[in-house]
């Protein structure tokens, strides 16, 4: 049954594939041809749960020259079918543009409905277009399509212009609703060179041709076409869904001037490196040293390299406040930032880099793209929005980000942990650096508890958080008084009552955070007949698996690998003896991605439980999803197994 089923599917896939390429070769659809059949359609034929779908989307990018310089014109046509009320969101369009040289204009927009068996068109009028100032530089253009109902078809054509030609706006073939037909058409003047990269798992059909326009200018036309693109929606444990949606990125790599000389931009890492150090807000800022020399000399004199790194990291981290601005270029410059004790990412981390260099260490800037910004793809500067510092001591490269008050050497704030970064050196060039933490972060929990005959549990807990676990604790418990800390921990575990809460080393980053408290819980043990049943992990067992979905389309991102260890000892009440305890268990995940160990040793009046689980890789590919899900399921079942006590 199953075999033949999947065989049929495969067979159809081939047929569809052939069918698709024939269809794509045909002329692309146009706006203004809405049929009764389209309006009558109640559900998307391939995705019955879709609230809306792009029947057609076409974006054409052309270039023109005017007094202001070179302009990029993006002309988009879209035809959207609304199936349900949740699809109404697509009838409101909003986008932003730069006041200087930018514009967005709505060329045509209309809603089509079926009225008495006929197609009725309602055009968008000026009254439904809204323009507003967002900041001095940025404006927003919004329009609200009229007369939208379930079943409506929406059409619009929008033309955007901008003078920023370095990086074209990424074009998404894939969306959170299905896309039936999508085409991206690039018309590049032949003297412009763009690097293009297609991301995601789909392969658009690509056609290229050279066309000669009026006045004899040559234009390179490339079209990218896809049909039947399924919707991709967001799930838990994902950094940035846009990384995985099918899209194209285009980056200006060079141009030929009127003397026919080719000027290259960032087409390879060497030229990217050249450009970054030439940038007046980067290279020269990194070279400045006189503003800090006197201050740091007494700190680092006579110290080892490791000591110097730690001392200077702490010095910059405690002196500087991050003003929440990202970027790898300085705004006010390192000197002013140093003096005012406030700066952006570049100012703080370039300052640190030059201090380390000045003290004789091999330190270099590492450019990266934050989680919010997505994963970068090809040699280019525009892909980056952040800079940290890399220090090579011996064979080891240490990663430093002094902008975060709770970061440590090699413990970067989560925003900066995104796949890979690129280390740049003025003389030696650049290389790729993995930002994914490789060493696991540890958590150790020790509990001493006593069970009473009426099923109450009292005890003391002591939690030690190391590395990223410590960073996470410090971030979420920052600035809270002890009472609020206790409240917060109580909230994490339903029914837990905490007293005598204390925390050590919250501000001493060099040491692990130690949280300790006395607790009481009355809802953990079941008294049934003359027996007591309870899970020896008490309130610390994982209640529910985070992985409940049937399939996964992109990797699971744990941010960092970890090791959690629990040592729990429970004194059983007088008058009871142990009837049964859960068996020892060891679980392992394929390719050593995770391990789980559970062991319980009943001694006379005390149970001694040891539980340890590791997730050994920060990012686990979606191919392992089933395995990961099963691992969590078994681990959770084990964590919730019961000890049985019997009345003597």
């Amino acid at each position: 049954m199953r075999f033949s089923d999947s065989f049929t599917k495969r067979f159809y896939a081939i047929v569809f594939f052939l069918g698709a390429s024939i269809a794509i070769a045909q002329k692309r659809p146009e706006l203004g041809h809405v049929t009764v059949a389209e309006l009558e359609q109640k559900k998307h034929p391939k995705d019955s749960s879709a609230a809306a779908a792009y029947l057609y989307k076409h974006t054409k990018v052309t270039f023109s020259f005017d007094a202001g310089g070179i302009k990029v014109i993006t002309d988009t046509e879209a035809k959207i079918k609304v199936y349900g009320k949740d699809g109404y969101d697509y009838a409101t369009y909003e986008d932003f543009y730069y006041v200087r040289g930018g514009s967005i204009s709505v060329k045509e927009a209309a809603t089509y409905n079926l009225v008495n068996g006929k197609v009725e068109k309602t055009k968008l009028k000026g009254e439904s277009e809204f323009e507003s100032k967002v900041t001095k530089q940025i404006r927003s253009k919004k329009f609200v399509l009229p007369n939208v109902r379930e079943g409506s078809i929406l059409e619009y054509r929008i033309v955007k212009t901008t003078y920023s030609i370095g990086r074209l706006r990424d074009f998404y073939f894939q969306n959170d609703i299905p896309v039936d037909y999508v085409q991206y058409e690039l018309r590049l003047p032949s003297d412009f060179k763009y690097s293009k990269l297609i991301r995601g798992s789909l392969n658009p059909e690509i056609r290229e041709e050279t066309i000669t326009e009026a006045y004899g200018s040559q234009v390179q036309k490339t079209t990218y076409t896809l049909k039947d693109v399924a919707a991709m929606k967001e799930e838990e444990y994902v950094t940035n869904i846009d990384n995985f949606r099918s899209h194209i990125e285009c980056e200006l790599s060079g141009y030929t001037d009127s003397y026919n000389i080719l000027h290259r931009f960032s087409t390879d890492w060497a030229s990217v490196g050249g450009h970054v150090f030439e940038d007046e807000d980067f290279g020269p800022e990194l070279k400045r040293t006189n503003y800090f020399e006197e201050d740091i000399k007494p700190l680092v004199d006579g110290k080892t390299d490791i000591e110097k790194m730690n001392i200077l990291f702490n010095y910059v981290q405690s002196r500087m406040v991050w003003n929440k601005y990202m970027g790898y270029s300085c705004d006010d410059g390192v000197r002013a930032a140093y003096k005012n004790k406030i700066g952006n990412i570049a100012e703080i981390n370039l300052m640190l880099t030059s201090m380390l260099r000045h003290s004789g260490l091999k330190a270099d800037p590492i450019l990266l793209s934050t989680r919010e910004n997505g994963i970068y793809s090809f040699p280019s500067l525009t892909a980056f929005d952040y800079v940290i510092c890399g220090v090579k001591i011996g064979e080891e490269l240490h990663l430093l980000d002094a902008s975060d008050k709770h970061a440590q050497p090699n413990i970067l704030p989560v925003r900066a942990i995104n796949d890979k970064g690129r280390l740049f050196n003025e003389k030696e060039g650049s290389y790729t650096v993995s930002l994914e933490p490789e060493k696991f972060s540890r958590k150790m929990v020790t509990v001493l508890a006593t069970l009473t005959p009426d099923g109450q549990i009292d005890g003391q807990a002591r939690d030690n958080y190391f590395e990223h676990h410590a960073l996470r604790y410090r971030d979420s418990y920052a600035d809270l008084g002890k009472e609020l800390c206790a409240d917060k921990t109580e909230k994490r575990f339903s029914g837990l009552e905490i007293s005598d809460y204390d925390v050590l080393n919250r501000d001493n980053l060099a040491k692990p955070v130690t949280e300790s408290y006395t607790f009481h819980h009355s809802g953990l043990a079941d008294l049934i007949g003359d027996k007591i049943y309870f899970s020896p992990m008490l309130f610390l067992s994982l209640a529910k698996s985070p992985f409940t979905q049937d399939k996964r389309e992109y990797p699971v991102d744990f941010v960092f690998p970890y090791q959690d260890k629990y040592v729990i000892s429970i004194k059983i009440p007088d008058g009871y003896e142990v009837e049964s305890v859960p068996k020892e268990a060891k679980l392992g995940m394929q390719d050593n991605l995770g391990t789980f160990f559970y062991s319980i040793a009943p001694q006379q009046k005390t149970l001694q439980l040891t539980v340890q689980y590791n997730i050994n890789k920060a990012v686990i590919s979606e191919e392992y999803y089933e395995i990961l899900k099963e691992f969590f399921s078994q681990m959770i079942a084990k964590q919730n197994e019961k000890v049985i006590l019997k009345k003597v």
Partner: protein
């Protein structure tokens, strides 16, 4: 893209040369005000002068010590309208001045009003501190021509902020009919002074208000005061707030006049739609559906101060509007079908906030529609395309709304949902390997209906996700998720089939499992050593479950949980487990909560009640192999 931010240099020189004057050192704050605080309000003085019907000036002087990053938002340095002046000074922990911030260093954003960009600006401070704690002295003066809204006094508006001293003085030009009304002053040491055409209130040394579970709505227990004038101005239109009736008449004439006109075509369409219907309510029901299918909610602020609705014929043509536009459109459609209805102003919020009976002024933030039905009203929420006719949900239930009418306008209470029932009936079969297979039908009404209503339009994936989070069952697989609704009864029914591996723990020759598989209460609220806030159960509910459990062949019940009955004033709980055949057990569970408002010292009793419910809900059953 690189965003440049230019920093303005400032000089330390001044601070170094002159003798330093220190104010507001952090050391002067008493320990109890620091407790649970992320910032402390050192001194606040708000002076409001209603100069004339067309001008009110608000001067603010506020000193806040910010203890850490969480407290940064409590500076509250943000102004709208005509900002005459704004400035700030930053002091270090010792009270030594470290920085002055002038008007030009404040950020400014234009406030857009639909397609028109107005002159109204939002001016706000965007300051990144270089050290904590620090103190900021903030001063502003703002003028507005709208005297319809005089800012209320809410001295304890911010949580986690201790207050040293806060005061308000408000003066009005005579003959405008100045009025004030205070709430919850008793129990708080508010100094009060009543002036000719004005008042002065102040409050000092109040410890920080904490966020606590089940806290009553802040307006129910924290001191605050409202102010207003009988003769006000709203965007150039003069108004009268001497009584709700007068106010209602004014609003009808000035906000609603000339807005209900419809095209002949639409009028004809509406008439045809209800041609066979004599009963006005049945007519309204049909028209409501028509309106829901034709329109959608879009937030737009147009017309006087955002208070006048879009014209009905525009909503008709465009098919969208905000709450005012859509409600008024519905009113116009009903008018075309000779069904009278009233535009009604309310506060839309999960907390039930009344329009104040004894304080007539511009209030509320949402519009609904009232259709007279005998001595009662049928209420319509017009911004939701999926709500059943006559259903409001918990956004506008049980509160006073103002009917806007040509004459005889008054405050009327909206519908109260007292029967928020959820009935579950079903069964599950337990296998010897610990797995279960189950069927269940869940019917939800009242506000429980609101909570489940999204399931009607949710996609397969969304439903799947919802149930996996909703049921307390590991490894859950949903085999059927049929959801339907009965719009007339405002009831959602879910018809579900599910299975799960490892539901019961298999140990040697025994099986352990939680008998209540489908409706487990586990959210025991937090315990507080010292509970500060009063607490409130704002809506009642009643859950009733009846589930039959089949146990595997060859097993007997070794132990079953005792039946539980708990009765408290907060609510009641009952769990009854009985064998109905050798291999079938039935459990009946009833959990209800009553509406109530209780002082802080009763919280622990309430928490204990819920703790007992959670415990009973997790009762385990033990089966043994025969």
């Amino acid at each position: 893209m690189k965003i440049k931010k230019k920093f303005l240099f400032f000089l330390f020189a001044g601070a170094l040369c002159f003798g330093q004057k220190t104010e507001f050192p952090v050391s002067a704050i008493s320990a109890d005000l620091l407790e649970n605080s992320t910032a402390v309000l050192r001194k606040e003085k708000i002076e409001i002068e209603i100069e004339s019907r067309k001008s009110v000036v608000v001067k603010t002087y506020r000193v806040v010590t910010v203890l850490n990053e969480q407290g940064l938002s409590k500076i509250n340095a943000s102004e709208y309208d005509n900002v005459r002046s704004v400035a700030a000074t930053i002091l270090d922990a010792n009270g030594v001045e470290i920085k002055k911030i002038k008007r030009k260093d404040f950020k400014e954003v234009a406030v857009s009003e639909g397609s028109v960009i107005t002159d109204n600006k939002n001016v706000f401070l965007d300051y990144t501190p270089t050290q904590y704690p620090f103190t900021i002295i903030y001063e502003s003066e703002v003028q507005s021509e709208n005297t319809a809204f005089i800012p209320p006094w809410i001295p304890l508006n911010e949580k986690n902020m201790g207050v040293e001293e806060t005061a308000i003085v408000i003066k009005s030009s005579p003959d405008l009919g100045f009025k004030s009304k205070s709430y919850n002053f008793e129990g708080w040491d508010v100094k009060q002074e009543y002036l000719q055409d004005g008042v002065a209130f102040s409050l000092s040394n109040v410890t920080a208000i904490k966020d606590e579970a089940f806290s009553a709505a802040p307006f129910k227990y924290l001191p605050h005061a409202m102010f207003g004038v009988d003769k006000f101005n709203l965007e150039g239109v003069e108004g009268d707030a001497t009584s709700w009736e007068n106010f209602s008449t004014w609003a009808f004439r000035n906000l609603l006049s000339g807005t209900t006109e419809l095209s002949d075509e639409t009028r004809t369409k509406v008439k045809a739609l209800v041609a066979d219907e004599k009963d006005p309510i049945k007519r309204a029901r049909k028209i409501y559906k028509y309106m829901q299918d034709k329109t959608r909610y879009v937030s737009i602020q147009l017309g006087i101060g955002g208070w006048r609705p879009m014209k009905a014929k525009d909503v008709d043509r465009l098919g969208y509007g905000d709450c005012k536009g859509l409600t008024n459109y519905m009113r116009s459609l009903l008018e075309a079908a000779d069904v009278p209805s009233h535009y009604a102003i309310v506060y839309g919020d999960e907390d039930k906030m009344d329009m104040q009976q004894d304080f007539v002024s511009m209030q509320g933030n949402h519009i609904i529609l009232a259709i007279p039905n005998g001595n009662d009203y049928i209420w319509l929420e017009c911004t939701n395309q999926k709500m059943p006719f006559g259903f409001l949900g918990d956004f506008t239930d049980d509160r006073l709304a103002l009917l806007v009418k040509p004459s005889g306008g008054a405050l009327v209470r909206t519908d109260i949902y007292s029967d928020n029932a959820q009935n579950s009936k079903g069964s599950y079969v337990l296998q010897a390997d610990g797995s279960i297979k189950g069927d269940i039908e869940i019917r939800s009404g009242g506000v429980q209906y609101s909570g489940r209503h999204h399931l009607i339009s949710d996609s397969f994936d969304e439903k799947n996700k919802f149930y996996k989070a909703y049921f307390d069952i590991h490894n859950l697989k949903m085999d059927r998720m049929d959801v339907a609704e009965d719009q007339d009864r405002a009831e959602v029914s879910e018809n579900l089939k599910l299975n799960a591996e490892r539901y019961a723990e298999v140990r040697d020759n025994r099986l352990f499992f939680q008998i209540n598989a489908f409706n487990k209460f586990s959210d025991v609220p937090q315990r507080y050593k010292i509970r500060k806030n009063p607490f409130e159960i704002s809506r009642p509910f009643a859950d009733l479950d009846e589930i039959t459990v089949s146990i595997p062949d060859g097993y007997n019940v070794e132990a079953k949980p005792a039946n539980v009955t708990i009765k408290e004033k907060y609510g009641s709980y009952r769990l009854e487990i009985e064998s109905i055949s050798p291999n079938q057990i039935r459990y009946r569970r009833m959990f209800t909560m009553q509406v109530g408002y209780y002082p802080n010292n009763e919280y622990e009793g309430f928490r204990k009640f819920l703790e007992q419910v959670a415990k009973a809900d997790s009762s385990k059953m033990v089966l043994i192999k025969t």
